[in-house]
Amino acid sequence: MAYSLTLLAAGTIFLITAVIFYELYAQSVLPRHKFGWHFLVTQTWDPVAGQFGALPFIYGTVVTSMVAMLIAVPQGIGSAIFLSELAPPRISDALTFMIELLAAVPSVLYGLIGFYVLVPILQADLVPVLRGSLGFLPIFQGAFYGVSYFSAGVVLSIMIVPFIISVSREVLMAVPREQREAALALGSTRWQTTWRVVLPFAFKGIMGSIFLALARALGETMAVTMVVGNTPQIKASLLAPGYSIAAVIANEFTEAVGDLYKSSLIELGLVLFTVTFLINGLARLLILATRRGTAA
């Protein structure tokens, strides 16, 4: 009885995902037939001329999400370790409580804070420092107008960090006492215990939180569109303005007139679905390869 109930729930989840995929697939018939695979490699997005290509958006989505993850993962895991291992329980609880609240801040407010607070700070302080020290790297060259892949990545990282911290902290705290005590008894420092025993034990849960965070970063719309510059182009520099799939859908869908235009936006949604599919797959393979046996 209980088994069938849970199976039903699991089946529903699969069904919902399948329905969404189906809707995306069915509604994007027009551009798929018209452009075929070219859709994925074309750089032009011209609603007036009816030419649509996904490449700049795919690029932007991947780049902004990568930047966000590179910042948020160490930041999140580091904070989670501090909160679970070092901080006094009451303070840890209270702080985590409030960090989880950050997940409730509406995307548009993150966008506004990002645009009116973060972007000026980046323009005035952070980016000059970055350029001063690492300016020879191609990713930090070119004109900087404030809105850019980098700014979007930073805003995204703030938005996704609560997920990593909250879940990672709980998982770390759930590691049985005996494991830590055994390591300490063998003469490890607390850090060695944490690094060599606790973290590996909590690895699966922490990876889970990272997947959650990545998913949010890939699909975030409002905050990204306010700080990314909304320019469909492909540039090596992180300081250049860019665009992302979710942002362009949010920007253009409600005003899109004409079946080809609308369906091309839907096809972008399908592309994002596929990108998520592939990134998830790659990540899982990576985990399988490094952990051998831990089913992701």
Binding site: D46, P47, V48, Y116, Y145, N230, T231, A256, V257, G258
Partner: protein, 341 residues
């Protein structure tokens, strides 16, 4: 577990029980007139407490789509429906759709030029050149020509445009198409454009924000946003040769020019119109009302509202920086109301 179920049931019961006796009419569409419509529907509700007209700004395209689908009772759009869309409406709903202009708006070239305090003059050629990416420096001859006394900096221009599809963009590029064959052949006319250059800001607020924070930038915004955000904006040369600054009078004047040749369905572009005091980048915004409204109660409410809007409602526009309709257009619309069955 039982506690939780009880709590949830009670909350549901509360949620379902709050109800009102009033008639609810839903509309969706353009964001530009949202503050105006919210004022109108608020005042109308004060006069008729049993009538609630709920308007939400989802965007002109969404307004057109939703009124065609029938998920809302009326729509609103900054750019008139084209023939294909009207046909689609007729096919789906069995009858036609009517356009009713409500107010007027203007789109202005706004800029951030450190060191320059006066108003700049922009020729249509200058604007087209800037947005095509041909004019890249502030001291370009085309700009200097129109601004003889002003010391223009040598810096590069940064163009800011809209990233989202919008009626504001439509009006702006409608003007550019009329004054620049190169623009017409190139990026063309639409609510979303493949811009040759520039950053994209989301919404009028996004563009205003970018202009404010980025020195040497230039973009286009609705007059109201420029005024409310205290952004400097320039004069544009109209078809009669005068440089006119956008304000309520010059925008209404633009509609006056069009009033003479107003088509019966009110779908007309008034950019670059004739007249000395006319601001050339202005536009109507329309309500989209189905020709045939099944529910007799709703039909009466909508026709009453339209009548009120065209008379008393027009007196409320200027306080919110919207330009009112010229009298000739109002008269024509009042007659058109009878087309609603």
């Amino acid at each position: 577990m039982r506690k939780i179920l009880a709590l949830v049931s009670i909350l549901f019961a509360i949620g379902v029980s709050v109800s009102t006796a009033a008639v609810l009419i839903n509309g969706a569409g353009a964001t530009f007139p949202n503050p105006m419509y919210s004022k109108w529907f608020f005042e109308y509700n004060k006069l008729h407490p049993d009538v609630q007209i709920n308007y939400q700004s989802l965007g002109s395209g969404a307004g057109i789509q939703q009124v065609t689908e029938g998920t809302v009772d009326f729509g609103a759009t900054d750019g008139p429906m084209n023939d294909d869309q009207i046909k689609a409406f007729r096919d789906k709903r069995g009858a036609g759709v009517l356009h009713f202009p409500t107010v007027l708006g203007g789109v202005v070239p706004s800029y951030n030029l450190p060191g320059v305090t006066g108003e700049l003059n922009f020729t249509p050629e200058a604007l087209a050149g800037i947005f095509l990416g041909k004019i890249t420096k502030w001291n370009d001859p085309e700009l200097a020509k129109a601004n003889p006394g002003v010391k223009l900096p040598t810096s590069d221009l940064l163009v800011v445009h809209r990233s989202d599809g919008s009626g504001t963009t439509y009006v702006w590029v409608d003007f550019l198409c009329k004054v620049s064959p190169e623009w017409k052949k190139g990026p063309g006319l639409g609510t979303a454009i493949n811009w040759p250059v520039g950053l994209g800001g989301k919404g009028n607020d996004g563009v205003s924000g970018l202009i404010k924070q980025t020195p040497y930038s230039i973009g286009y915004v609705e007059l109201i946003y420029a005024v409310q955000n205290k952004l400097p904006y320039g004069k544009v040369r109209n078809s009669s040769g005068s440089f006119v600054k956008a304000d309520l009078a010059s925008v209404t004047a633009a509609a006056n020019g069009a009033a003479q040749n107003m088509p019966d369905d009110f779908r007309v572009s008034i950019t670059n119109g004739p007249g000395k005091d006319v601001y050339p980048i202005a536009s109507f915004t329309w309500l989209l009302i189905p020709e045939k409204i099944q529910d007799a109660g709703k039909k009466k409410i909508i026709t009453d509202f339209l009548t009120w809007m065209l008379n008393d409602g027009q007196n409320l526009t200027e306080a919110l920086t919207y330009a009112k309709l010229p009298k000739a257009v109002v008269a024509k619309e009042l007659k058109a109301i009878s087309k609603i069955q």
